[in-house]
Structures are given as structure tokens and as C-alpha cells.
Point group: C2
Chain length 149, copies 2
């Protein structure tokens, strides 16, 4: 039962960035097709996501042949929350539609409680970086290896 809904968009973006993070030390770019194929993401869709990630300053792109994408910052300097914000928040320039007339005291107190819960979740997402995810994955693969011995 999820109440925190990980949208397709965000999941794809995070997976792509995770893959870029894994090759960060290589100093080499990855192409859309590679990432898409490796993570089973529709490539033309991923293209859009990487474009917004670029506009938001999370990745760098290199055009032309032998082009591709790379992280704009180090993996430990990019939190999951950074990514979510970049993806979900871009065209979310529409200000809160609060007619304030129908924001009854009931709604107000309810909304407050809701935001408390949200804040707690965001705190976790802010403190977790792409590096953390890479580490955990490596650790898990290690565990799997041990299992086979």
C-alpha cells in the first residue's frame, strides 16, 4: 500500500541518474539508448526526462556523434529529493490554487498534519544521495556473491 507514489517519470529519472552515477568516475558519457535498454525504459520518453534534468542542472549533455550524458555534480552531491524536484516541479510553476475562502479551519488543520508527514518523508529523501544508492547496491551484490560460495 503506497501513499507515497513514485511516479513513472521519477522512477525512470532516478534509475537513469543511478546508472550515470555508477560510471561517474569513468569521466565518460552514457547514451540514451544504452541507459534505456539497460533499465527497460522507452528511449524516446527517457529523452524528455534527461532534457529536463539538463535544464535543471543535474546532468550535462554532449551533442553529436559519441555524445551522451554525464552527471553535472558528484553522486554524493545529488539527493533523491533534488531529482524529484527537478522532474516533478519543472512546469509546476502554477501557484497554489488557494481561494482561501473554502480553506475551512477543518481543511487547514488537516493540511497541516499532511504537510508534517510530507516533511518527514522529504527529510529522508534529502539525506539520501545517489552515492548512497550505489553503495547499497554494491553491498547487496557482495552479499549475493557470498551466498553462492
Amino acid at each position: 500500500m503506497d501513499i507515497l507514489e513514485l511516479s513513472c517519470k521519477s522512477e525512470y529519472a532516478l534509475l537513469a541518474l543511478l546508472e550515470l552515477a555508477q560510471h561517474y568516475s569513468d569521466g565518460q558519457v552514457l547514451q540514451i539508448k544504452e541507459i534505456a535498454a539497460h533499465q527497460s525504459i522507452p528511449d524516446r520518453y527517457l529523452e524528455q526526462l534527461l532534457a529536463t534534468l539538463r535544464r535543471q542542472g543535474l546532468v550535462r549533455s554532449q551533442r553529436g556523434a559519441k555524445g551522451g550524458y554525464s552527471l553535472a555534480r558528484a553522486p554524493w552531491q545529488i539527493s533523491l529529493w533534488d531529482v524529484i524536484q527537478a522532474i516533478e516541479g519543472e512546469d509546476l510553476t502554477r501557484s497554489r490554487d488557494l481561494p482561501s475562502a473554502d480553506l475551512t479551519p477543518e481543511r487547514e488543520v488537516l493540511l497541516k498534519a499532511w504537510q508534517d508527514a510530507q516533511t518527514a518523508a522529504v527529510a529522508i529523501l534529502q539525506k539520501t544521495t545517489l552515492q548512497d544508492l550505489c553503495d547499497r547496491q554494491a553491498q547487496q551484490q557482495q552479499a549475493r556473491l557470498m551466498y553462492y560460495i
Copy 2:
């Protein structure tokens, strides 16, 4: 920027229960129309929500003329999370569509982080009860009164 999205359904249900909570001591039932009018909720829609809340054991209903709804438990025994689960989770009987084939290690570690964030949010929602919300609202109205003196 919300990532924790409070759906209309849940908001309506919580508002309705909050209103029922406010009249809990009266030992009297409230009718759909009353609640709907008071909270600006489409009544035929609220009807469905109250029906599922009844099936989930959160409210009692009394049929026939002079009928209506009342809380099945005391307001301090109903957490916000209880309500969310009842509303969002009812027809969510569909088991996780996990072909497990395309649950790559990347997705796995990502999902884990996501659930950590979700757990943090749920903890807040679990420890907050309808009673808490009633209290806060009363407190806030008190504050408003002081302001006018």
C-alpha cells in the same frame, strides 16, 4: 511542491470523519447531506466514501428515516493512517505486479529508499488521531478569538 499527494477521496473522507468526531460525544448520527453541505463535498460522492469507511469498520450507519453515520470507535482510536488505508486500500487487493524479472537490483535499492521515506511519513500519520485534529482546531479557534479582543 507536494510529493505526498492527498487525494480528493482521502481529503473528503478525513473531513467527514473529523466532523463526526466533533459530534462523537453527542451520541447522535449525522446525515450525508449535512456533512456534505458543511464541508462542500458532492453528496453522492461522499456516500460512496462513507460506504467504504463502513465496510472497513470505521463508521457505523443507521438506515431508514432519521438515519445517518457515527464513528465506530472513539476519535482518539482512529488515526489518519487508518482512514487513508481504508479509503485508498480497499480495492487495492491487486497484488503487487512484480514480475520480479524486471526488478533489477537498481530498482530494488531505489524502491527500498522510497519505502524508507514512506515509512517516515506513515509514522506521523499513524500517531496523529482524529482527536488530535479536533483539539488543534479548537485551539486555533481559541487563538482567533483572542485576536479579536
